[in-house]
Amino acid sequence: MQLIYEKSQAGRRAGRVPDYGLPVPEVPAELARKEPPRLPELAENEIVRHFTNLADRNFGVDTGFYPLGSCTMKYNPRVNERVARLPGFASLHPHQEDDGAQGALELMWELQQILAEVAGLPAVTLQPAAGSQGELTGLMLMRAYFADRGEGDQRDTIMTADTAHGTNPASVTMAGYRLVKVATTERGNLDLDDLRAKVDERTTGLMLTNPSTLGLFDEDIEEVAEIFHSRGALLYYDGANLNAVVGKSRPGDMGFDIVHYNLHKTFSQPHGGGGPGGGPVAVRADLEPFLPSPQVVRDGEAFRLDRDRPKSIGRVRGFAGPFGVFVRSYAYMRAHGADLRAMSETAVLNANYVLAGLRDDYEVPYDRLCMHEFVLSARALKKEYGVTALDVAKRLMDYGVHPPTIYFPLVVPEALMIEPTETEPKERLDAFIEVMKTIAREAAESPELLKDAPHHRPVRRLDEVKAAKEPIVKHAFGERPRVEAEV
């Protein structure tokens, strides 16, 4: 398909800007633009067609089953889009005085209350823009907390599990800490002996996802918490997998001191092909003074932004956070009420049902009941037929299913990480199980069918190595690369 720049014709245009007939002040010559930017020049009709055709070449939850592990690709209710666009929300300026933003502040305050209840921790900041920024915020909170206690110089390491999301170790480095890795046992729990050997007076804290990226709840979580707390260290909960436990088990009750949520996972903010997200952070009471500024607070019947926070780590993002995300997530919570528990129960039921259906056809490296997701291995297919997890993923596309997360977690070779979510009906799950069985058969009978897949997408398999070797990251005006035939 052509780029929008390749459809451009000099002098054509869509939008027009009001001209009020006023004189235009001159820009000082040395500051004025000399060459106009080569933006596309198209009629509005053709712009709409261009992006409609691009949408046709994309796949979302609205298109079909999307069991991308650890991403919680649940249904995104359209009513949430509608309410987020109410002018009182969408056209509200972030510098509006508090007395002109009472509805927005009330919504944020209510959202904080619900999030606090879900985490089992008393204080919440909504400011972080995404889960990874929530992680960084959490580590900054640890730094501020220990500095305040006079232990800032002493504590300089953070532990993460070998099953951790890549964001955890990356956040550790960005926050200026040294990483210490902890092993996982054959049953999928943290290795307590390894932990005990590594936790010392330099330990700042642990970052942990529970359930883990293997989709397993750490059965020793109380001992884990005790090991850290007994050394004065803190526990950070990576909320990427929170969808498994809402109303079933609260991170605060597990012993976690700091928790981030992914509003775009658990609470249905649509992920938009890569964002936006929302990464609020909850903390125990003695960490509250360090939360970012401003903070939404309630004074009697009124709400306001509190900027008088002398111990705060400061600001991590603009304003009080991605407000439009809060509207959608709050709407999602209000559609469930206390039945948020049924959300997690159904997510776990759906995952276990699919796992049970695939147990005989794929290797299950950690053979337990799972939580909201589970990990299969294509190791046997690779050994016997030369078919990899990547080939299975690409073949799924031909059956109209988005592939699961692959090659993650790293501790499982040829990993296929599958998360169905709670909003899928049984028929979708049955169809997926059938497709996966078919693919396992195809791997044995005609492996080339998988190796050449996909066969029915707008493009064939793409050369990612070439893209990285000779990076082309913007359009080279004037060049006309080969594209597939177009009407």
């Binding site: 796949f59 929300f89 509805g103 092909g273």
Partner: protein
């Protein structure tokens, strides 16, 4: 009957439990130690049907005074520009709206191509060689730029012009301890930054970040600021407003190493501060240090063009603790809104947008019965001196249905009597007349 968006029937549930080989949902949760299981109901507000939900949220929204109710001249980083009708229509296409990050390119050519087109547009506007797929907002990209500069130069001091958006400066200062960076701020003189002061501060610094136009609306001598930074061996980083880049020079054309900024003005609703997109573009030298996603062009098995996420060895899911950033989620959907808006405006429309803003601010300068705070050329905002504290003027003007702007005393000491008035193409000369009348009334 359960609430929410679940789709299993009782019969489904029974069949599924049987297939799993357990007798109840509770059996599935047996792996959670009993002591940390949550018994009972969450103490949260009751479930609402769609009708009730809409009513509830409409009631909350009605408590806000938005820019369609009050005649508003608020800006200071977020602006009430027109968002073309086609933006919302395209952003609500479920194939874009409900997709995840395009890890599987054959399923995601639509969004990948759109990001490639966005990267191209940002490079065209800023005069840079490479852009990422977006950052969280116009403030966090400033911290990103500092991290790049630290590793590119091996230096640990960051220089910020005081005329840079205060929130951008706050975010940089929040990130600085973890990055191992020291932050120095350079005061303004008469509303703009003196290149000589930048030159002195930039000695031994990793980067200098300055705005164009600046937070007071004034035009900086950006080419001189960039030159001052570069002569000291620091990276020159311009924080720019996309709506200005049809009339103001591209940072790449005056020697900047990076261009960053807030994209909200092009294609996003104000939405009380987010979600919006930040943009981050640089010279080719820093392509392997950029944070976040980058889309690259490649070919498929047939030799046809296609697009993939590329240079992923920078990223956290591959490099883990050695990654250039922890970033994963970005602001793709908002950046798509930016691309659609830029296509709708085209080069002609973007220039007209800048000219209309400048013409309105010129008219406001004539009409508003208050002296300009700074004697400098401006783009779309004008700082004026008020005879009483600006906060009081704002309060009294709002009582008359006009929000006259932003009180600079919120962020700058000694500026309690400075009001920052923002103009976009949505305000008319008649609106400015009314603003002038109201200010005359409350300031007399």
């Amino acid at each position: 009957m359960t609430a929410g968006y679940l789709s299993l029937t009782d019969r489904d549930r029974d069949e599924m439990l049987a297939a799993i080989g357990v007798s109840s949902i509770d059996d599935l949760f047996a792996q959670i130690p009993e002591e940390v299981r949550f018994a009972g109901d969450l103490d949260v507000p009751p479930a609402l049907t769609e009708v009730e939900l809409i009513r509830h949220l409409e009631e909350l929204a009605a408590k806000n005074v938005h820019t369609g109710v009050e005649l508003s001249f608020l800006g200071a980083g977020i602006y009430d520009h027109h968002v073309p009708a086609i933006v919302d229509m395209i952003l609500q296409r479920g194939e874009f709206l409900t997709a995840y990050t395009p890890y599987q390119p054959e399923m995601s050519q639509g969004v990948l191509q759109a990001i490639f087109e966005y990267q191209t547009a940002i490079c065209e506007l800023t005069g840079m060689d490479v852009s990422n797929a977006s950052g969280y907002d116009g403030f966090t990209v400033a911290a990103d730029a500092c991290y790049i500069a630290k590793h590119a130069t091996g230096r640990t001091r960051i220089v910020l012009a005081e005329t840079l958006n205060p929130q951008a400066r706050e975010v940089v200062k929040t990130y600085a301890p973890g990055f191992g960076l020291e932050v120095v701020e350079v005061a303004h003189e008469g509303g703009v930054t003196d290149p000589a002061r930048i030159a002195a501060a930039a000695e031994g610094a990793a980067a200098v970040i300055f705005p164009q136009p600046n937070f007071f609306g004034c035009l900086e001598d950006a080419p001189a600021l960039a030159a001052a930074a570069r002569e000291a061996g620091a990276l020159a980083v311009a924080h720019v407003d996309l709506t200005s880049l049809g009339v103001l020079e591209a940072p790449g054309a005056y020697g900047c190493d990076m261009a960053i900024g807030e994209g909200q003005s092009i294609g996003n609703a104000q939405s009380y501060g987010g979600p919006h997109y930040g943009f981050l573009a640089s010279r080719t030298d820093f392509i392997r240090r950029l944070p976040g996603r980058i889309v690259g062009q490649t070919t498929d098995l047939n030799g046809d063009r296609g697009f993939v996420l590329t240079l992923q060895t920078r990223e956290q899911h591959i490099r883990r603790e050695k990654a250039t950033s922890n970033m994963t989620t970005n602001q793709t959907l908002l950046a798509l809104g930016g691309l659609v808006t830029l296509a709708w405006l085209g080069p002609q429309g973007l220039r007209e947008l800048g000219e209309t803003c400048m013409s309105l601010v010129g008219y406001a300068r004539e009409r508003i019965p208050l002296p300009a705070a700074f004697d400098q050329p401006v783009f779309k905002e004008l700082a004026v001196r008020t005879p009483r504290p600006a906060r009081d003027v704002i309060r009294e003007a709002r009582a008359l249905g006009v929000h006259p702007g932003y009180a600079l005393g919120r962020d700058y000491e000694g500026m309690d009597d400075v009001l920052l008035v923002a103009l976009t193409e949505k305000r008319t000369p008649a609106d400015i007349d009314r603003l002038a009348d109201v200010l005359a009334e409350v300031c007399s």
